[in-house]
Subunit: 359 residues, 2 copies
């Protein structure tokens, strides 16, 4: 049975990437060892690191005005590193909040800067992106933070928010590499890898060089962007295996036609699924059509008493991890880059059959 | 040709561990996925996490008085987390320095506490552990820090230092799991995994519970031990694959007879190598015999002009990564748990042959 893994993260890897990991497990690049066993200072690994950066710059369109860094600790670590490095307890930063992760970024960020929001923060879930007046954003703010895609709510910005000249910083953990976007509108982007970029344990950061090393805060060396920018992210032993997997994934994305190619496939995949859900009375998605996520599709059964049967039957059919996050309930299909169109077709077929037998 | 990888870290993995990684790469525990693709909240992964902690507690002898945590960022992250959590800018901490890593721990720690040392810090290398008067250690210090094994110098404490009632904290990155030691003498131990515990990207920490959550400092959530202790180290997505490898390595160590069994093997291995080096006039090791490392054996050729030939020939013979750290020069054989006795025999045979042909 073909298994499709709709996990929100750690998420599915492309089969070709897993195959390459398997092929190289006992002898990576003629070293006679696994990549896991090789020094990060070896010529082979240093080459891999440089190749990874160069591929990411090429695919995403990151100019030399930005430093590219590979950091441990996930997006949650960035929630504190960002204000510690770019602001101060007396400084100010703006947060646009449109879901669970944006709220958490605001909460942690607000411990290290004077955080303000573009609109009141909802205590419940989001089905759209709150409006705000861009010309009311204080231009003295040290940065403007947003979350490009909210994985729980399935809400995604269709284009970057307006914030004037304030440096725009984005948590792209769940949609970096999944579509095209305007890198040059951003001062910083970051993404923990376990959705579209690889496996857990490494976070990709691109940050405008002129914003690095400007802080007067007392910052642990490992939380200081300068440390990474000055050392090629090798101040200490980096997470070499997750870095290697990111390299393989970037090569795979390039083979898919880069971000334009991937975007075409992802729009096709999410389009099919939303179209079916919208057509059905048995399933529903309440997110405004102008900000529906192309990578996380939450849906609810009209009759929630059928939830457990849906989950049991779908898992038995090889469609794994469809349970929605407990904070929002229902179902969620995370359809990141590694989920092929055949996975969407299998899911829709299952949903149709379930509707037929339980509707 | 059998390759032996004497890398100081990331270092060799036991062959049995690599084989299990390969066997489970496409289907871990019947999930139909790799462990890399499975949610950290899945029952399978939560089981693995609990099993890992239980195995570590059993092998190392860690009682319920300690929290066991799995943290990203390597030992360098602990250099700051330790004083941020256990001390303050006004507090005091004692550092015993006997090599490169101890110096770096002192340097970073001293940014977050009033750090004092047990003895003057050497600007050059260490060949012994500096003496100090234990009864002069200020008993008001928040902690006493030492590095149980210095990987560059090959200097290792044969037993924990004396510091009265001051909480004893140890960087055991390079020797945790390599020998028996008295856990109960310590308030905290930590070790980045890529030497004896697995691969880069995860750090093992055991810390007395009564010392957690006592700080008045402003600490990023991801740098606060409380965050990990309260969440089973799953406040955010942990580095799942490195965690899995640590689990496999712990099982392997148990199969070797636990720390007592591993210690017997490691003493045999290092004993053979030191014995040969001491017998030879061609090679030398200058470290005092009472504090020679059982896991990193540096040695120098009497005629340093032969260094490159030694490195080229040894690599060609499948004996990899024997170059000493640039700060100390010479050669270094890192003979962590995964290096079998046959690797030591192959190394000594090569050294004898090189001496015969170049001596």
């Amino acid at each position: 049975m073909t298994v499709y893994n709709f996990s929100a993260g750690p998420a599915a890897l492309p089969m070709a990437v897993k195959q390459q990991i398997a092929d190289e497990l006992f002898d990576w690049q003629g070293t006679g060892c696994s990549v896991m066993e090789v020094s990060h200072r070896s010529p082979e690994f240093v080459n891999l690191a440089e190749h990874t950066e160069q591929l990411a710059r090429e695919l995403i369109g990151i100019s030399d005005d930005y430093a590219v860094m590979f950091i441990q600790g996930g997006a949650r670590t960035q929630y504190a590193m960002l204000p510690m490095n770019l602001s101060s307890p007396q400084g100010q930063a703006v947060y646009a909040v449109n879901g669970h992760w944006g709220k958490l970024a605001l909460k942690e960020g607000g411990r290290f800067t004077q955080a303000i929001t573009t609109a009141p923060v909802s205590e419940t879930t989001y089905a759209s992106i709150p409006d705000y007046e861009a010309d009311e954003i204080p231009q003295t703010a040290n940065y403007f933070h947003y979350t490009s895609n909210e994985t729980l709510e399935g809400v995604q910005w269709s284009k970057p928010p307006e914030c004037g000249a304030v440096p725009l910083c984005c948590d792209m953990t769940s949609d970096l590499l999944s579509r095209e976007f305007d890198m040059n509108r951003h001062a910083m982007i970051y993404a923990s890898a376990q959705k579209n970029m690889g496996i857990a344990g490494i976070t990709f950061v691109a940050l405008r060089k002129d914003l690095i090393g400007q802080s007067a805060n007392l910052i642990p060396m490992m939380n200081d962007y300068q440390t990474y920018a000055n050392s090629g992210s090798m101040y200490n032993t980096p997470p070499t295996f997750p870095w290697y997997v990111m390299n393989l994934v970037l090569q795979w994305v390039k083979g898919q036609g880069g971000l334009a190619g991937i975007q075409r496939i992802n729009r096709q995949k999410s389009g099919l699924l939303y179209e079916y859900v919208d057509r059905s009375d048995f399933y529903q998605n309440m997110v405004s059509k102008n900000c529906r996520s192309e990578v996380n599709v939450p849906f609810w059964l009209a009759d929630e008493s059928l939830n457990q049967a849906f989950l049991d039957n779908s898992a038995a059919a090889g469609l794994k991890a469809l349970k929605g996050h407990k904070a929002v309930g229902g179902m969620r299909a995370s359809i990141y880059n590694a989920i092929p169109e055949a996975g969407i077709e299998a899911l829709i077929s299952f949903m149709q059959e379930f509707e037929r037998t339980h509707g």
